[in-house]
């Protein structure tokens, strides 16, 4: 019996080993290496890399582009996430009701989700084109003045934020839809017997019951806001005047445009710290779910 147990122990490790190897090579090792690199200077042709302590981080504090990227990312997340989540909830409530054409509406809402972000960016790039784009044409019908949406620093961040909302709302909708369908119909009957209004039913019963879904959606949305920059590469390249510079795009620019890997490492550490802070909330939540099962 004991031998069987030891065999199972060994088997457990053997089954786990391949995954752990790959995780080590492409997650733990690079993460640890990034931390170490952030304390070293970038190797230059006649100046090999050497330890410089927290100099990269000091440079970071003095770097206006870094602060702008951080602020842009914060605004981008702060606007796109509540709006996308709110629209997703509205969409889910609508398609959950038995209204005519709900299948078509659901399809229209969800379709942007299956498109590659780069395709989405191309489509919207055309949509936003000065003079010719559909948006400009529609606005000129109403006598609006011409405006270069992606080309002026006052509107570029808003323009890419709208793209993110368009791409993500349908994705979040399906989680709300699933959650709504799990709410017992007897709750609605009971609330109606008590004479609660539709709004009251939503506010006091549906919305609280959807809280776990909302938390899940919010955390995913925050993570996406920090790790997706495909549309920035296609639409604005961080410009004009860094007005659409997001953190990961800055990492990409510093790492592969300027080849300053030491500074890119310090920037990556900031990004990782932010993601870790967000994910630790999810982690605790996931952990609890695991526990109850």
């Amino acid at each position: 019996m004991k031998r069987v147990r030891i065999a199972r122990q060994i088997n457990g490790w053997l089954f786990l080993l391949p995954a752990i190897c790959f995780l080590t090579l492409f997650t733990y090792w690079p993460a640890a290496k990034t931390l170490v690199e952030s304390f070293y200077s970038t190797a230059r042709p006649r100046r090999p890399t050497h330890f410089i302590g927290v100099d990269q981080y000091r440079q970071l504090i003095d770097d206006p582009v870094f602060w702008q990227a951080l602020m842009n990312n914060a605004w981008y997340a702060l606007i796109s996430i509540p709006v996308a989540t709110g629209i997703a909830l509205l969409m889910a409530i609508w398609v959950n009701d038995r209204i005519p054409g709900r299948a078509l509406a659901r399809m229209a809402y969800f379709t942007p989700t299956v498109l590659p972000m780069i395709a989405v960016a191309n489509i919207w790039l055309f949509f936003y084109t000065p003079q010719y784009g559909l948006l400009e044409q529609a606005l000129s019908l109403f006598g609006g003045p011409p405006h270069n949406w992606l080309g002026s620093s006052s509107s570029a961040l808003a323009a890419v934020t709208i793209v993110a909302i368009w791409k993500e709302a349908g994705f979040f909708m399906i989680f709300y839809l699933a959650a709504l369908q799990q709410i017992s119909p007897s709750l609605a009957e009971a609330a109606a017997l008590e004479g609660a209004s539709r709004w009251h039913f939503f506010r006091r019963i549906q919305f609280p019951l959807l809280m776990p879904t909302t938390l899940f959606v919010l955390i995913n949305a925050i993570i996406n806001a920090f790790r997706t920059v495909d549309h920035i590469i296609v639409m604005t390249r961080g410009g004009p005047d860094n007005s659409t510079m997001l953190l990961l795009y800055y990492v990409y620019q510093v790492g592969f445009g300027f080849w300053d890997t030491g500074y890119a490492a310090a920037l990556t550490m900031i990004l990782l710290a932010l993601l870790a802070a967000v994910s630790s909330v999810q982690y605790g939540w996931l952990d609890r779910r695991v526990h109850y099962q």
Binding site: I10, R98, A105, F126, A192, G255
Partner: protein, 280 residues
């Protein structure tokens, strides 16, 4: 479910129903508009790209010209190889690891599981600079395996399959072992077949993620032989196409077509897969 919803006392009636239908249709039209615009542009001659006339002739010419102007056939082939490679490797690695976590007791299991879940925070998408260096050291820059490798051990996949394996009745496991099946045979004969729907769901999520992935493939590839379709599209549309939107729209739709068509045909499976993969 929908039959129950229709009997809900809060189902909209009369004017409320009309308002809700109107609003949901309006949003749907607004939502699909940018895509419809791209479809219009792609299927009409360039002079109608920004001019809407009912009698504008339909054409496939933009697709033909886009296809001829860049090696899209090769890009598609690369993408197919990439998603197959990623998903194939994910299935093997995640199945084994999930089985270990679900049905084995071993020293350090708790710590190992926490370490695996750590990847949900430290994602390959963010570690691009160091991973680029690793690929360079391995001498496999600009190759399809280089795009795939950082993603093959997926914490998400391990977690998803672990949860599924835990729902398999222990009696089935015991019965198979009594009949002399080895540890590995039990996995193949009992657990994997029962988890089939989860593999399908995971497959749809994984394939669409990696078909659509862009930043890492953009960084690590540099030639026609290894570029997936998304990077190919970017190289094509930012190249010397000028602003021929008709052709760029055609190329954009072409790149999205495999997933878009699959989604339109298997809508229910797609939605359920994304749901299943997200909620567990």
């Amino acid at each position: 479910m929908s039959a129950l919803a229709s009997r809900s006392p809060y189902a909209p009636k009369g004017g409320g129903l009309f308002a809700e239908v109107a609003a949901s249709w309006l949003l749907a039209i607004f939502w699909i508009l940018p895509l419809v615009y791209a479809v219009w542009t792609a299927f009409h001659p360039a002079e109608f790209s920004t001019r809407f006339a009912m009698d504008a002739p339909l054409t496939l010419d933009n697709f033909r010209r886009a296809w001829a102007a860049a090696p899209f056939a090769r890009y598609f082939f690369n993408s197919v190889i990439l998603v197959a490679l990623v998903f194939g490797a994910q299935v093997i690695l995640c199945t084994l690891a999930a089985y270990a976590f679900a049905r084995h007791e071993f020293f350090g299991k708790g710590i190992a599981f926490a370490l695996v879940l750590l990847q949900l925070m430290i994602m390959p998408d963010v570690l691009v600079v160091e991973n680029y260096r690793t690929m360079s050291t391995l001498g496999i820059l600009d190759s399809i395996p280089a795009i795939a490798l950082p993603y093959v051990a997926s914490a998400f996949g391990i977690f998803l399959l672990r949860q599924t394996f835990k729902t398999v009745p222990k009696e089935l496991d015991d019965a198979a072992r009594l009949e002399g099946a080895s540890d590995f045979q039990v996995l193949l004969k009992v657990y994997v077949p029962l988890a089939k729907p989860v593999y399908v769901a995971y497959g749809l999520v994984s394939v669409s993620y990696h078909w659509n992935n862009f930043l890492w493939p953009l960084i690590v590839t540099n030639s026609v032989e290894s570029r997936p379709a998304t990077v190919g599209l970017q190289v094509f549309s930012s190249g010397d196409q000028g602003v021929d939107w008709a052709i760029i729209s055609a190329a954009t739709l072409m790149t999205s077509a495999p997933l878009l068509i699959a989604f339109l045909i298997f809508q229910r499976q797609f939605v359920q897969s994304f749901m299943r993969a997200g909620i567990r």
